[in-house]
Amino acid sequence: MFMRGLKRKCFDGEEDIEETLAGIKAIPSYNLQRQSLLDMSLVKLQLCHMLVEPNLCRSVLIANTVRQIQEEMTQDGTWQMINMQNTGQASVDRLVSTDILCRSSREQAEGKHVPGYSTFSKDFEGDQAQDSSETMSTASSVQALRNLQSNVWEMENSQENKGNFQKSLDQIFETLENKSPNSVEDLFSEVDNSYYDLDTMLTGMMSNTKMGHCDGLEPFPSPTTTTSSSNCKSDLNELDHIVEILVES
């Protein structure tokens, strides 16, 4: 879904050109840092699957942080479901200094420029390589989170879940310990749902994703091979369609 028409952060047109240019330069910095925070948070949520029993308070706080970032990115217009390919692996390598994020909004208003976009497509064309990799990882990261949320907190019907998993989620869980199929079947057998909460889910999740098929997904062309905006737009249309199917309403 294109973000056209969505309210974007105010970009004061009366500012002089220099400030505008400086503002545009500051944009990737804030967004990169925010993206970095998002990636870091998803890595943390992964890691807590590996613990003895994840600390629920910590997981909830991290998930709330991810949700906040997601909401801000949605309002920003940076939330784009361009490509669901698995460049979305949350990578610790991509972490950048997140100094700016520590500043309060007041400090940011005083000293820094508020990120903004003139138009959605212009930005996309303008810095395709960087943006697309950012946004793709954003898209798959957040999609991963949505699945994570819906499936991690409580075990639902396993059969439904399998169809909904994406490759990006596979990647997130690939570092987890692989459980034997037998133990997975035991977990999926009829048991009182309330007994299996966050912690149980996480040990069962891994094998679930490995076993699940992402039948509905076709591999998408790598973003780096896409050079013209028209190609991207047709991909986007396909993507919207796929995303609508995948995302549980």
Partner: protein, 449 residues
């Protein structure tokens, strides 16, 4: 009177008294102290560790000739409270780490305490034995039974003194009532019931009954996808046996009255400070999460600890705290790094002194902080083996937030975030404090003149 100084945090001169634990820098994980608690008289000091052990120290009787110091604390009893368990259904280990210890008030010669790990609460009886019966007719001294036909005379067995033996025995085990991790236990002022709180539920127990408990708070959403808030701490009011509070990860405290309904899902009071919009960042919620809540001894106030501050609330005022003390505000600009290394999730505790005039809490670099509510002065001290000499007054520490570092100040970047003081306790009557670093327990006293 003119010239008389009111007692206060800065007016107390704190001196090193003792340190317990290994000297090694290499900390064995089982030795990590996880809770510290004085009993009601202050004579006993209990610690729990990650290995599931409880160590109780007892204060020596004051020596009249040694008027310059109060009695030392020496090991009184050590026992294994909890063992690691394995939950086969979930394929997960249940840690033996002792999360909390709470003492019961003493009713007879024996002492009782509650200790809990993530899932199970135990009531322990600690009793002394300093005599033993001797002179049985049918048993030899070593315990072997005598052949009754060899008994020619009868005698009355007598008690003879023996070396003091302190025995700890589990009297009650309260299990299988918590799906999530227990973070708090609190004994009611009726001394018959107590509460245990996990991330989503609070249960009420009777000390005599182990096979059932009453659920009094349940914040688990029907759909776990909607979970955004957990319970972080809970405590009974010190005087009102129907009142308790619980804090949340969103920085709220709810006061509940058990007379209102069986399930206290609807609070009687909600304490929450409105957020300062100018200070908002992605980390606002995390740092607002309350890690500890403690009623004052009087019961009129309660104190909460969040990541950067300590707040005192008047129970009659819900919309904001009456006092706020910054513990380490210089960390506010470092929240990203602290989020990355998980320090932002550290749960610091806090405590009141006996007269509710001073509050204390821990920080990083083995620093701990005290705030005098009357004089509004605060002090930062360090728990370190370098200040080892008894009766040497501890030197106040200062962290340099930015700019030019003065002599003796420590810059924020040099702080050791692995050295954290999460657990502190204040003697109920005296100016004696117990401060736990990772694996050492420090005892400080005020300088007696």
């Amino acid at each position: 009177e003119v010239g008389v100084r009111a007692g206060g945090g800065n007016d107390i001169q704190w001196c090193f008294s003792q340190v317990k634990g290994a000297v090694d820098d290499d900390v064995a994980e089982a030795d990590i102290i996880s809770t510290v608690e004085f009993n009601h008289s202050g004579e006993l000091l209990a610690t729990g560790d990650k290995g599931g052990r409880v160590v109780i120290f007892q204060q020596e009787q004051e020596n009249k000739t040694q008027s310059h110091s109060r009695g030392e604390y020496n090991v009184y009893s050590t026992f294994q409270s909890h063992e690691p368990e394995f939950d086969y259904l979930k394929s997960l280990e249940i840690e033996e780490k002792i999360n909390k210890i709470r003492w019961l008030p003493q009713k007879n010669a024996a002492q009782f305490l509650l200790s809990t790990n993530d899932k199970t609460i135990k009531l322990w009886k600690i009793s002394e034995r300093d005599k033993r019966p001797e002179g049985y007719n049918l048993k030899e001294e070593d315990g072997r039974y005598r052949d009754p036909t060899t008994v020619t005379t009868l005698r009355v067995p007598v008690f003879r003194p023996m070396d003091l033996m302190v025995e700890a025995s589990p009297r009650r085990i309260f299990a299988n009532a918590h799906t999530y991790h227990i973070n708090s236990i609190s004994i009611n002022s009726d001394y018959e019931t107590y509460l245990s709180a996990d991330d989503l539920r609070i249960n009420l127990w009777h000390l005599e009954i182990t096979d059932r408990s009453f659920n009094i708070v349940d914040i688990k959403p029907a759909n776990m996808e909607e979970l955004t808030e957990v319970i972080t701490a809970a405590e009974f009011h010190p005087n009102s046996c129907n009142t308790f509070v619980y804090s949340s990860s969103k920085g709220t405290i709810r006061l509940c009255d058990m007379r209102a309904s069986a399930l206290c899902d609807r609070h009687s009071k909600l304490f929450e400070e409105p957020e300062d919009p100018s200070n908002r960042s992605f980390f606002s919620e995390i740092i607002s999460s309350i890690s500890d809540v403690k009623f004052s001894h009087s019961g009129r106030y309660m104190m909460t600890r969040d990541y950067l501050s300590v707040k005192i609330w008047d129970l009659n005022m819900e919309n904001r705290p009456v006092e706020t003390y910054q513990v380490h505000e210089y960390l506010r600009s470092k929240l990203c790094s602290l989020y990355e290394n998980d320090c932002i999730f550290d749960k610091f505790e806090c405590c009141w002194n006996g007269s509710d005039s001073i509050v204390m809490t821990g920080s990083y670099n083995n620093f701990f902080r005290m705030f005098d509510r009357n004089t509004k002065r605060d002090i930062t001290l360090e728990a370190s083996r370098e200040n080892n000499k008894p009766r040497t007054v501890l030197k106040p520490r200062k962290v340099c937030a930015s700019g030019k570092r003065k002599k003796d100040e420590i810059s924020v970047d040099s702080l050791d975030f692995n050295k954290k003081i999460l657990h502190t306790a204040w003697h109920p009557k005296e100016n004696i404090i117990a401060v736990a670093t990772t694996n050492n327990l420090y005892i400080f006293q005020d300088k007696m003149n």
